[in-house]
């Protein structure tokens, strides 16, 4: 764990001069950002700015080309990617269900070696009735599936959750439920990095806001300062 000498806040992730080139295209040209431990950082910016790629670099689903990322002071390359991904969970824009029941999905991490968790307890944690356990996962609504994805990720007891537009395909009621869950998890001490194109959501949830434009991190701002300068319309 490293103490940030300037702010006195413990860093969760530190990115220095990060660039990512995919298939010859430089998706991230310069990434310099600090994610503080225990915060909910909203990442905003226009489409194609590199927000999702940046998120995928944090659990090494995508490899950085140059620069350095550290997690709790340890360079990412010194951490086994399997171990890293168990500590840094991820939720995608579209929920992905594995074949089988809801219980099979929630127990997936257990089959990989994570300590067993009570399925009913996990379902209650994400606001679903325990009777969902034996349902075929593919028959659930998108909103229910996204909450099962969250329960599935929580079985690993992650220290960080990376969320890539997790409510983009949900209706307002399910969006509200997932947002409430995010706040609860953040209050439990989980660091959350949330990519969102929904500025109102970024304002509701983000303690700080990271702005990305054309592959570059433009800076991290306290919520009030960011929305005072840029508004909710995305006038960047």
């Amino acid at each position: 764990m490293t103490e940030n000498v300037w702010s006195g806040v413990t860093s969760c992730f530190e990115l220095r001069k990060v660039s990512v080139t995919l298939n010859g295209n430089q998706v991230i040209t310069r990434g310099d950002v600090e994610v503080r431990k225990g915060e909910l950082l909203a990442v905003v910016g226009p489409s194609g700015a590199g927000k999702s790629t940046l998120l995928r670099c944090l659990n090494r689903l995508t490899e950085i080309t140059t620069g350095e990322i550290s997690f709790l002071g340890v360079p990412l390359h010194d951490i086994d990617p399997i171990t890293l991904r168990r500590r840094v969970g991820m939720l995608f824009q579209l929920p992905v269900m594995f074949e089988g029941t809801v219980a099979d999905n929630i127990s997936y991490a257990t089959t990989l070696g994570a300590p067993a968790k009570d399925v009913a307890e996990m379902l209650i944690k994400v606001g679903l009735d325990p009777s969902f356990a034996n349902k075929n996962a593919s028959t659930l609504s998108v909103g229910e599936q996204q909450r099962v994805c969250l329960a599935r990720a929580l079985v690993n007891s992650p220290e960080v959750l990376l969320m890539d537009e997790p409510t983009a395909s949900l209706d307002p009621a399910n969006t509200r439920l997932v947002e409430e869950l995010m706040i609860r998890l953040k209050n439990e001490g989980i660091t959350i990095v949330l990519v969102s194109h929904n500025m109102a959501q970024a304002r509701r949830l983000g303690e700080r806001v990271l702005l990305m434009k054309t592959g570059e991190t433009m800076g991290t701002f306290p919520r009030e300062e960011f929305f005072r300068d840029y508004g909710e319309e995305g006038n960047w």
Binding site: L61, E63, I82, T83, G89, F98, L112, A153, N156
Partner: protein, 255 residues
Amino acid sequence: MIWDWMVLIRVLSAVGLVTAVIVLTSRLKLGLVSEMAQAMIRALVQLTALALLLSFVFQMEDFAPLLLVLAVMLAFASLTSARRVRDLPNAFRVSLVSILASSVLTITVMVVIGTLPLRGEYLIPLGGMVIGNTMNINSLALDRLRGEVVNQTARVEAALALGARYDQAIAPMVRKGVRSSLIPTVDNMKTLGLVWIPGLMAGMVLAGADPMEAAVFQIVIFSMILASGAITAVLSTRLMSKELFTESHQLSYRG
């Protein structure tokens, strides 16, 4: 086979029949004249060349030419299979290793237990049948694996994001690849003798062999094909799985 006038008359009769069909199709304007003529000529040339080669190889007492013929068959089979999935990384190497290992293992077991006589006239045609069918199964397995990975990239990455190793993340796609590649062979075995009489048995019966002996040989060859096919499907999908990921368990193949 002795080349006498009767043989020549038989071949010419068959060619004459095909020529008549070609003339008929040209009148029907099916657009198949050129292709049928080419196929007929190629079949004549290729099979005559094979017959000459086999006659030559069988006369030799050395095993080296036999092994050379089998090696050429293996190389062509691997090349054909790899071309089917040419955009997959290292498709030729994966196909060669899988087809080679499974064919050699199956043929060796059959020779060791005495089911397959260690003579050219058995090894070459039966080896060719095993290698050819193994090639088909290898192509089907890799093609299905590719399709599954492309269609289910999100599932693979969701599993990786939960801390799965690459082989755990791709396991459902590997299973589907192996299963679907073996379906035609298993279905063929189920309908053996009911729906169709396979080439080897038909050939032996036509050549005057005892039908029971022909049936036993056919069972042997089908068992070899299934065994070799199952081994190659398991091996090639597993070897290819490794090629689709980086050492950090990142999916590098995107189709």
